[in-house]
């Protein structure tokens, strides 16, 4: 079940009520992603049914945005900023250390399914560079020595 019957009914009602249903495409994709962690092919098809569009019309939008995951991701996605301000304050070293600590390369997911590591462009936290986001939490002024504790904290938060 990608979305509950109730969620589907609610989304369909909003689609009926808005003058421009297609405008809701990201809202529907966000709902599917929030419930499942990512948007599968079946998720694209469900979105198309809810919106009254073809799967292709949904797909060409879903694949455009880097924060809509069209491939499975870990329970938490680590987005590490590699834009200029973070670069100037050591983001390359942070990225290397993260790969070491997690035992994966950028774009991969840890074997336990906990973390996916992805580079991202500017998070708008330039005064707190270097910055990274794990799930919904933004971390600023990250020192290499802090990474292990940050990852441990994020792991515990999931299991608690």
């Amino acid at each position: 079940m990608l979305l509950s019957e109730k969620q589907i009914t609610q989304l369909k009602r909003r689609v009926r009520e808005t003058p421009h249903p297609r405008e809701m495409i990201l809202d529907v994709l966000h709902a599917i992603q929030d419930a499942n962690g990512w948007v599968s092919d079946e998720g694209v098809e469900l979105a198309a049914i809810i919106l009254g569009l073809s799967p292709l019309q949904v797909e060409e939008v879903a694949t455009f945005y880097d924060k809509i995951y069209r491939r499975p991701v870990g329970r938490k996605v680590i987005h590490i900023c590699d834009s200029i301000c973070c670069w100037s304050r050591g983001s390359e070293a942070l990225m290397q250390r993260l790969q070491q600590l997690l035992g994966i390369a950028a774009g991969e997911t840890t074997i336990d399914g906990m973390f996916t590591l992805l580079p991202t462009c500017c998070l708008g936290a330039c005064a707190d560079a270097p910055a990274l986001r794990i799930g919904k939490t933004l971390y600023g002024k990250v020192a290499i020595e802090q990474l292990e504790a940050i990852l441990d904290g994020e792991r515990t938060e999931v299991s608690s």
Binding site: H20, R22, E23, M24, I25, L26, D27, L29, H30, L51, E60, V61, F64, Y65, D66, K67, I68, D82, S83, I84, C85, W87, S88, R89, T120, C121, C122, L123, G124, A125, C126, A127, D128, A129, R133, K136, L138
Partner: protein, 425 residues
């Protein structure tokens, strides 16, 4: 130390958000009240035009002039779209405003809608700004409750609805026509212009597009008047205040509101805490990733639209990113170009294929494998890409390359001559 009475940041306390009560306590919504009670839409537009306000999102176009092209008096559906896609690296000012004081933007949006005869506004926010979206939605609930949003605002007969749209990433969505496609649920490639959005924009209707900071200035222009607002700037042609970002190799990176036209060196020294680790200043991006570099010879230059154009760059978003004397400018430029190449939407060839080529040339040079021919080719790409791409993304992307070749040609040549990066020991 030069400071100014803040306008946009007047309620800002780091770590706190001011909502309706606090916003009203310092004069919030007096601009909207004044506009609705004492002014016609045309006189609001006149005041904004007379204020000399220029767009704070990067392009710096006159807001009054932009509004004068808008068919404000035509009947029928029209839209205001507030561009809050803020994804230009080095730019984080709009986020600071929405974290501190979301009603500020809402009041600006409402006054703009009144001035332009618009009944529906969309605020487009980037994916990373979830707290900003939550703040705005809370502010909108409060405003609706207080009769400041929705039908018959403050009993004036003016009605306006505002919607917050949460995006899902991609820099190109900040390009105004790509943003419109994104809002409509289409793949966000840019549209060809003309028709311009003011004629045919969102859902095919006339659409005005303005940046968050731009709109947040409007209430102050209405309450204080155009002449007063204009007088706030330090430069003769400038107008108002600016939210400057300070990032990169500084002791105290921050975002600060100051008069438009602050001298670069003063800004870095007094607000950025100077270059970090007691190193010296080598260069900076004056206003985000797509603006050509300034160097140590420019520390006296005023950070304003015209003064920066005179030295071959742009104010852009006002996000200053500083590089210290140990920075390799080829490496910095390569980082910037990798960003642009990755964020290209792929629609047109000069951008999709040209930017990766530029990255490849910069990589070769940085790794010490570059030749004279590579440098010539880099120079040629400036001509081949600029003016030939479908939208302004590629033009902006080539800004740092232009700056590199104008100010740091010798450093590029050293890479080629030595067969290695001269700044790496």
């Amino acid at each position: 130390m030069r400071t100014c009475e803040p306008l946009l940041f007047k309620n800002r306390r780091i770590g706190e958000t001011v909502f309706l009560e606090g916003y009203r306590r310092t004069g919030g919504y007096q601009g909207l009240e004044k506009a609705l009670r004492d002014m016609t839409p045309a006189s609001v537009r006149e005041e904004v035009k007379a204020s000399g306000l220029r767009g704070r999102g990067g392009a710096g176009f006159s807001t009054g002039l932009k509004w004068s092209f808008f068919p404000s008096d035509d009947p029928g559906e029209k839209y205001l779209v507030c561009n809050g896609d803020e994804m230009e690296p080095g730019t984080f000012k709009d986020r600071q405003l929405l974290l501190a004081d979301p009603h500020h933007l809402l009041e600006g949006v409402l006054i703009a809608c009144y001035a332009l005869g618009i009944g529906t506004a969309y605020i487009f926010l980037r994916d990373a700004y979830r707290q900003c979206a939550a703040n705005l939605e809370h502010a909108m609930d409060e405003a609706r409750e207080a009769g400041l949003l929705g039908d018959n605002i403050l009993g004036s007969g003016f009605s306006c609805e505002v919607h917050v749209h949460r995006s899902a990433g991609r820099y190109i969505c900040g390009e105004e026509t790509a943003l419109l496609n994104s809002l409509e649920g289409l793949r966000p490639n840019p549209r060809s212009k003309p028709p311009f959005p003011a004629v045919k924009g969102l859902f095919g209707k006339p659409t005005a597009l303005n940046n968050i900071e731009t709109l947040a200035n409007v209430p102050h222009i209405i309450t204080g008047g155009a002449a007063w607002y204009k007088s706030l700037a330090l430069t003769e042609k400038g107008s108002g205040t600016k939210l400057y970002g300070l990032a990169g190799h500084l002791e105290t990176p921050c975002c600060v509101e100051l008069p438009l036209g602050m001298p670069l060196g003063e800004l870095i020294r007094d607000f950025g805490g100077g270059v970090w680790q007691q190193r010296s200043f080598k260069a900076c991006l004056p206003g985000g990733a797509s603006t050509p570099y300034l160097t140590a010879e420019h520390l006296d230059v005023a950070l304003d639209y015209e003064t920066l154009e005179q030295v071959g760059t742009r104010l852009g978003t006002g996000g200053v990113v500083v590089f210290d004397d140990r920075t390799c400018m080829v490496a910095a430029t390569l980082n910037l170009l990798r960003f642009f190449a990755r964020e290209s939407c792929g629609w047109c060839t000069p951008c999709r294929d040209g930017l990766p080529l530029v990255c490849w040339l910069l990589e070769r040079i940085e790794l010490g494998q570059g030749t004279r021919e590579d440098m010539t080719m880099l120079q040629e790409q400036l001509r081949y890409i600029n003016g030939r791409s479908f939208c302004a993304l590629a033009l902006g992307a080539m800004g740092p390359v232009d700056g590199l070749l104008r100010h740091f040609a010798e450093e590029v040549e050293d890479h080629i001559r030595l067969g290695r990066c001269p700044l790496q020991a």
